[in-house]
């Protein structure tokens, strides 16, 4: 029985549901008068422990499921001939592993961050559920199962966007829902056609399209596939259904923005990989107008996203536009339909996940510590939080693609793939656009570093809102981190003295900084030692192309 591979799906979902249900019960018990009571320190601590254990256990199970060979399991028949079917293959492995790591790291960061957002229990409830759904998405073995969990993911990740309940957040969440659903329906109608013209909807490397059946209906099939590309591209922020992304990602709490931008946008990529390389088959699309249109759209998105990011003054929005642009790098790598391009795309999936999470976590720290959201307000911030800004800088360099960081490796493969794929003029235009966009990336990310470290002129002192936090951070910077957690009492006692002594330091507590450091280090280290990943991605690419 291979049914145990579904444990990493059910366990976090169950844990999340328990959290939500207990929250509802508690509310009922307390009555409607004081529904928004802040939980106590001890309660929060228990909550964090619960979430960490649930995530860690399911993460380990996910790794075990991914690396203990081929598994497949049929859950039940949704309709005759359409089972809910899970299968672990290389793509599943790649996504499951990276998502699990990121999810755990961001969870640790959020334990501190979410204190100032409040409503932690609800947040973690959905956070756990979305993790389970993402695992199910990674392990999905056929198109309908994937579609099912794709839609559930939309619905369960919506509360993360909604979190602060402001009008802006609600509007953004509904926009997210609407775009995602319109996109998903385009995908669904493609599935109907593929159901007719494919031998099976089960994912098979190289595609299952039955060319004899398809003969004579090529045009309509191409239209259907194009619809699917556009539809699933909505989640990945590809033109023309990209407009929700810059609205929805920034309004979420920063840890949620990080996983939305870093991970959930990749679900669109996963869906497109599954459709193109595992059901339709790349050979069917090669040289058709669909490939041309697809490449054009991705390049347009790459360029447009960078331009919009360049013009955007609000930091988190800028990062969201950057996601629009960067995810389309991945899609461009896929669209050239060459093994090298696909290797680059898969590498960029991993690298962008790491880097974008790191960047959003930095944004979260800036907001958390000084309450500023606009880029020009960050002048001189490096004086007060040098470690954070260094992490930001490394992640930025990686995103721009400066050797020896990770972004360089993936972009190298992307450009190589475009050049040798034999896609005519796109072989030249593609790398050129990538280069221009890399310049723009430098243009919109690096000024924060430069003005942060070298403000010039009058330096603004950032307000210290939570002084005891600064106190414990200071302790950490002296090097006594680890066991000396910032127990509130201890910090309060030394609050006044410590603020006077070192009012300048705004570095966050180590619980927040360490995840950021891990991600930033990964962004660099993966570029220094990329070979195992390249081999793995190359193997996947070779199996489908």
């Amino acid at each position: 029985m291979d049914a145990w591979i579904l444990l990493p799906v059910f366990l976090p979902v169950l844990a999340g549901v328990i959290l939500l249900v207990s929250l509802a019960l508690e509310k009922r018990k307390k009555g409607e008068e004081q529904p928004d009571r802040e939980p106590g320190e001890a309660e929060l601590h228990n909550l964090h422990r619960y979430v960490a254990v649930a995530l860690a256990v399911s993460g380990v199970l996910a790794l075990a499921a991914a690396f203990s060979g081929e598994h497949s399991v049929t859950l039940f028949e949704l309709l005759k001939g359409i089972p809910v079917y899970f299968h672990v293959d290389d793509i599943s492995r790649l996504f499951a592993v990276v998502i699990s790591i990121i999810w755990l790291v961001v969870a640790f960061y959020s334990f501190v961050y979410m204190k100032h957002e409040g409503k932690e229990q609800r947040f973690y409830g959905f956070y756990l559920i979305v993790y389970g759904v993402l695992m199910a998405l990674s392990f999905s073995g056929n198109l309908v199962t994937m579609y099912l969990f794709y839609e559930i993911m939309t619905l369960t990740s919506m509360p993360l966007v909604l979190h602060n309940g402001s009008r802006e957040a609600i509007m953004a969440a509904l926009k997210y829902l609407f775009y995602s659903m319109c996109g998903a329906y385009l995908g669904l109608f493609g599935i109907f056609f593929l159901y007719k013209y494919c031998d099976t909807l089960t994912f098979t490397a190289g595609g299952t399209l039955n060319l004899e059946l398809a003969q004579g209906n090529i045009t309509i099939l191409l239209i259907a596939v194009f619809g699917m590309l556009i539809g699933f591209g909505a989640k990945a922020g590809m033109l023309p259904l990209h407009a929700w992304l810059p609205a929805a990602h920034p309004v979420a709490p920063s840890p949620a923005s990080a996983v939305l931008s870093g991970v959930i946008a990749k679900a669109g990529v996963l869906a497109i990989i599954r459709v193109v390389f595992y059901v339709v088959g790349p050979d069917f699309l090669r040289g058709t107008w669909v490939q041309t249109a697809w490449m054009t759209l991705t390049l347009l998105t790459v360029f447009m996203g960078s331009m919009m990011a360049f013009r955007e003054p609000v930091f988190k929005k800028r990062l969201a536009y950057s996601t629009v642009s960067q995810v389309s790098y991945i899609l461009f790598g896929l669209s050239v339909l060459s093994p090298v391009g696909m290797t680059g795309a898969l590498l960029h999936v991993v690298f962008h996940m790491v880097i974008k999470c790191a960047l959003f976590l930095t944004a979260g720290i800036f907001i958390f510590r000084c309450g500023e959201t606009r880029v020009e307000q960050f002048r001189g911030i490096g004086k007060q939080m040098p470690k954070t800004l260094w992490c930001y800088t490394f992640a930025s360099l990686a995103l721009i693609g400066i050797p020896p960081t990770s972004g360089f490796v993936s972009k190298w493969y992307l450009a190589q793939g475009a050049l040798e794929a034999g896609v005519g003029v796109f072989g030249i235009v593609g790398p050129a656009v990538l280069l221009v966009s890399a310049l723009l990336t430098a243009g919109y990310l690096l000024p924060i570093t430069t003005s942060g470290f070298f403000p010039g002129g009058i330096v603004k002192h950032f307000g210290i809102e939570e002084k005891h936090e600064a106190g414990s951070a200071e302790e950490a910077s002296v090097g006594q981190s680890g066991q000396e957690n910032n127990s509130a009492a201890q910090a309060d006692a030394g609050k006044v003295a410590e603020t006077n002594r070192k009012a300048d330091s705004l570095e966050p507590v180590p619980e927040m900084l360490i995840p950021l450091v891990i991600l930033a280090a990964l962004a660099v280290l993966l570029g220094l030692f990329p070979n195992p990943l390249i081999n793995f991605a190359g193997r996947i690419a070779a199996s489908v192309l």
């Binding site: 409607e32 039940f76 028949e77 949704l78 309709l79 005759k80 359409i82 309908v144 579609y147 099912l148 839609e151 559930i152 619905l155 009008r167 609600i170 509007m171 509904l174 829902l177 609407f178 659903m181 319109c182 329906y185 669904l188 109608f189 109907f192 056609f193 159901y195 007719k196 309509i220």
Partner: protein, 503 residues
């Protein structure tokens, strides 16, 4: 013969006679009797369903053991029992969900009359489901029409009287056409029992005699029933009838009454004429065309509508279009998709009506679209339920609407080429249009309202404790919807087996 085989006959009889009984007792007692009757009949239908599944074949029940043509026949299979059970469940939930509105909107001394109508309606629905005699079907069609009029009119204001009159006229036109069709068939075949008619029709078809009269008969009956079930160009009576009647009437009318007629049409297609003859007659192509147009036009009207009740009503026009489109595809898969959609739409539409009324309760009883701003916060359960209903209508996985869309699409891609594209395009367009107005409403109910506006209008918060009955109904509807959406395979299998037994 086992005792359980009597149950279909009993259930028709119980509901038929509990109607007059309700007319002589008080409102409260009538209400209890009504709920008890629905429960008992539901339980009986479940037993019958269980029996037919086990026996694996349909059985014919002779009333009073008189063989046809003197006696009257009932024919019961899996499909019939399933429909009866499902109709009872939906009716029960609709009655619970609308109980508050009934006490407010119906004059106290007339309350028992309402239950007379409901019981008669139930008996006519059951008779339409079970009967094997064309003329009995006609009689109960008329009973159905009259009691439906009563359900609309019981809330007395100008709009409902106008709506009921309109419904009466349109419906009688439909019955008239149906009756003409039955007369023609009787004239041609000399029988009224469905199985006998079918034998004769097969002979006529083989010999080629009476080709045109047969065609005319099938068209008359199809058009008659299409009018009664509000297929697109004949839908003018629908928005007012559903939009202004009391809540439980609207829910029952939209989810059950029109479905009863549609079930009769399936019966006529399969058991009176024979589906292959219907398919050869090209009537299905006409139904297909009207269905496709209805899918689009119903949604377009719903988008333009500013009253939430009428909006939900217009959406029914679109959904009825889906069902006829399924028949129009002309394959067994298409009919199964339509039958599934009958269930799915019944579960969803009554959910939407009840949830919609929960939202209007929290908005000063105003049904205007703009007054619903923020209603999802003032009545949380209704907001969630309306969202679930909307997602189901739009075809979100996990909910029943998704499975019916999947089934329709499967049926369409396996059909002939000239129906494949229109069907899929209509499905796509209609889905997007559905998303436009349902998601627009969901966005509206979750857009926070201005605090002073809420205070000025005196909108109050509605909690679960305030409306216990409605909340129970809503939760059950949500569960029903998700059950249909997640465990569809057994249901579809039952429908498939049932349809095989049915013919």
């Amino acid at each position: 013969m086992e005792f359980v085989q009597n149950f279909p006959f009993f259930s028709i009889l119980i509901s038929l006679f509990s109607g007059p009984l309700c007319s002589v007792i008080g409102g409260k007692a009538a209400r209890r009797i009504n709920l008890a009757v629905i429960t008992v009949i539901g339980a009986m239908s479940a037993a019958v369903l269980n029996f037919t599944i086990r026996s694996g074949e349909a059985y014919v029940y002779l009333m009073g053991h008189f063989p046809a043509p003197w006696g009257n026949e009932i024919r019961v299979g899996v499909l019939e029992a399933l429909m009866a059970l499902f109709f009872c469940v939906v009716m029960f939930l609709s009655m619970i969900g609308g109980s508050l509105e009934r006490t407010l909107e119906i004059e106290t001394e007339k309350e028992n009359l309402y239950y007379v109508m409901v019981n008669l309606l139930l008996s006519s629905l059951l008779a339409l489901i079970y009967t094997n005699d064309l003329f009995t079907a006609y009689v109960f069609v008329e009973i159905n029409t009259i009691s439906a009029c009563g359900l609309i009119m019981i809330r007395q204001n100008g709009r409902t009287i106008e709506a009921a009159t309109r419904y009466m006229i349109m419906s009688l036109l439909g019955s008239g056409l149906l009756l003409l069709g039955i007369c023609f068939l009787y004239d041609m075949t000399g029988h009224l029992l469905m199985s006998n008619i079918k034998e004769q029709v097969q002979l006529l078809h083989a010999s080629g005699d009476y080709h045109i009269p047969l065609l005319v008969t099938v068209s008359l009956m199809s058009v008659g029933i299409a009018i009664k079930s509000a297929l697109y160009p004949f839908h003018a009576w629908l928005p007012d009838a559903y939009g202004y009647s009391t809540l439980s009437s609207a829910a029952i009318l939209s989810s059950l009454v029109s479905k009863g007629y549609i079930f009769l049409l399936v019966k006529i297609f399969y058991r009176v004429i024979g589906f292959d003859i219907v398919r050869d007659s090209k009537i299905v192509n006409v139904l297909f065309a009207f269905g496709v147009v209805g899918m689009i036009m119903g949604s377009v009207s719903a988008i333009k509508e500013g009253n939430i009740r009428r909006m939900i009503a217009y959406s029914s026009v679109a959904q009825i279009g889906y069902i006829y489109m399924g028949f129009g595809i002309g394959t067994t898969a298409g009919v199964i998709a339509s039958l599934y959609h009958i269930l799915s739409h019944a579960a969803t539409k009554s959910l939407l009506f009840v949830a919609g009324s929960g939202l209007t309760d929290a908005s000063g009883d105003s049904t205007s679209f703009f007054d619903l701003t923020g209603a999802g916060y003032r009545n949380k359960l209704a907001g969630v339920a309306f969202t679930v209903g909307s997602l189901s209508m739009v075809g979100f996985p996990m909910f029943s609407g998704f499975i019916s869309k999947l089934l329709f699409a499967q049926a369409a891609v396996d059909s002939v080429y000239y129906k494949l594209l229109p069907a899929l395009i209509a499905l796509a367009l209609s889905t997007i249009l559905n998303a436009v107005y349902f998601m627009k409403t969901v966005i509206r109910i979750y857009t926070p309202a201005k605090r002073e506006e809420v205070q000025r209008r005196g909108f109050r918060n509605v909690t679960v404790a305030d409306q216990k009955a409605k909340s129970v109904a809503l939760v059950c509807f949500i569960v029903l919807n998700m059950a249909l959406g997640l465990c569809s395979e057994p249901v579809v299998r039952l429908l498939r087996e049932g349809l095989e037994m049915f013919a």
